[in-house]
Symmetry: C2
Subunit: 287 residues, 2 copies
């Protein structure tokens, strides 16, 4: 039980980081599942004038301020991808393909930049489909892997996988100068469906098909209701009350995923409230 | 009509400033009623670790960051004290003793550090009782004025009044080394009631009485329902929905005055949401 985390935060954007620092200040153990660059949305912002205290700052600069803040508080970002979160009553199980975490509370701060699952993606999740290539790469030693990359970070993961796998196909969902090892085949095509029997054996694209043992879909985030079965959604957003409680006991949410306006300060405010609600939930239930 | 302000913000703490910068970014005219030092609560904070982006910062330093931000955006703090806000249908009238402002929307961000009114205070407001001594001092040339000071800023106001009034009594509600002109009498006593007929003529304290022509109660803020007649209060806080709307059309609220937790990021987030709701209210009603 000693390794059951107090507060698991899913998302490393402003809402998630705000939740993390507040939970940590209240002496709770915290894990943050997120990205090296914290938030793609933030980093891409050319100029931000409405984050009180910083005038005329770029998203990249603000990200650095956030990074310095969490590093000073010894909060690390865990880069593993959560496939699913299951409510177990007094705690949650967070599935990371071949591994799992337990947490007393969960704060979802995964933003709105999620992509709809492909046909077959949810069906084969954990049976050849994964969201974290660096985590699961060892399973594909000597095999064929297809990586659907939604962002540039996926390239690094693809390069790592290519050192172990026999063959890597990279299907980029964006345009850039890809920095990929020369043994990776780039397939510019639209993925349609992941197929298989017990395990994945093929991915169908618009104008071709690839025989593959595994498919990694490397996207910014999955939709919250896909992540947490049973989570109540209202008009496309996680339904929360003013204390940031969702319909699932011990599960809180904050930031863009709970509704408009999609704004940084709104997100940090909600992250703070979610963390304090989680802390109070833990103590009032003696968890 | 051209001098009707789009957004009047009452309060210059984190919630009020956040509201102001967001309204201004949306090209709205903004007025902020507040304090030179922005927020007594903030300035007194020895150390703040949970305002994302600033680690290990003092309240005083964070205040300076806020000040730089609003100055860069050419947002000034108006130091006049609002006595009352009246909803007029499509606009609001904000009363400042001998003067008034009109605004299309009002955002209340006045915090929770308000003091209960004295007996007689509301009754004689505008008839010898005021909340801004520097504004109304000229009315008391050659007369006797009593100042009930709840904070050190009140001392400056008292000194100014003492240059015009015949006699100034200062009733401090705090302990310090008062920096008051030598012609001011300091009365260390508990105020009980303001009395008069048409106009104020006396203030009753616990162990004495003072004949006076005017009483200034210089406190951080008045309670929201005293400020805005008809405003719905729930459990001691202004009742708002998630868009920060109050029960009065065009009137929004944010920060400590709408509920716990009393935290800076929660406040700035709510200020932002309140401002965006006010902006959308103005445009959807073609005001």
């Amino acid at each position: 039980m000693s390794d059951r985390i107090d507060v698991a935060v899913i998302g490393s954007g402003p809402a998630g980081l705000s939740a993390a620092i507040n939970a940590k200040i209240r002496n709770k153990s915290v894990i943050v599942f997120g990205y090296e660059n914290l938030s793609n949305k933030l980093v891409k912002a050319p100029k931000i004038n409405n984050y009180l205290g910083f005038y005329d700052i770029s998203g990249e600069e603000l990200k650095e301020k956030f990074k310095n803040h969490i590093e000073a508080m010894e909060i690390a970002i865990t880069k593993e991808r959560i496939n699913a979160v299951y409510a177990m009553g007094e705690y949650f199980t967070l599935m990371v393909n071949e591994k799992m975490y337990e947490a007393k509370t969960v704060i979802i701060a995964s933003g709105m930049e999620f992509t709809k699952p492909l046909k077959g993606e949810e069906e084969f999740l954990g049976r050849g489909v994964g969201y974290c290539a660096t985590c699961d790469a060892p399973l594909y030693r000597g095999k064929t892997v297809t990586i659907i990359g939604h962002n540039r970070e996926a390239e690094e993961e693809a390069n790592y996988v290519s050192e172990l796998a026999a063959k890597v196909y990279y299907v980029p969902m964006y345009e850039t100068n890809y920095e990929l090892n020369s043994n990776i085949d780039i397939i510019k095509d639209k993925p349609i469906e992941i197929v298989g029997e017990d395990m994945v054996n093929k991915i169908v694209l618009k104008s071709t098909e690839i025989d593959t043992d595994g498919v990694f879909v490397l996207k910014d985030s999955v939709s919250p209701d896909q992540l947490v079965p049973g989570l109540e959604i209202e008009n496309g957003h996680i339904k929360v009350d003013r204390s940031m409680k969702t319909n699932i006991q011990g599960c809180f949410a904050a930031g863009d995923c709970v509704g408009i306006p999609y704004q940084y300060m709104k997100a940090v405010g909600e992250g703070q409230v979610a963390a304090l609600s989680a802390v109070s939930y833990i103590s009032s239930n003696h968890l």
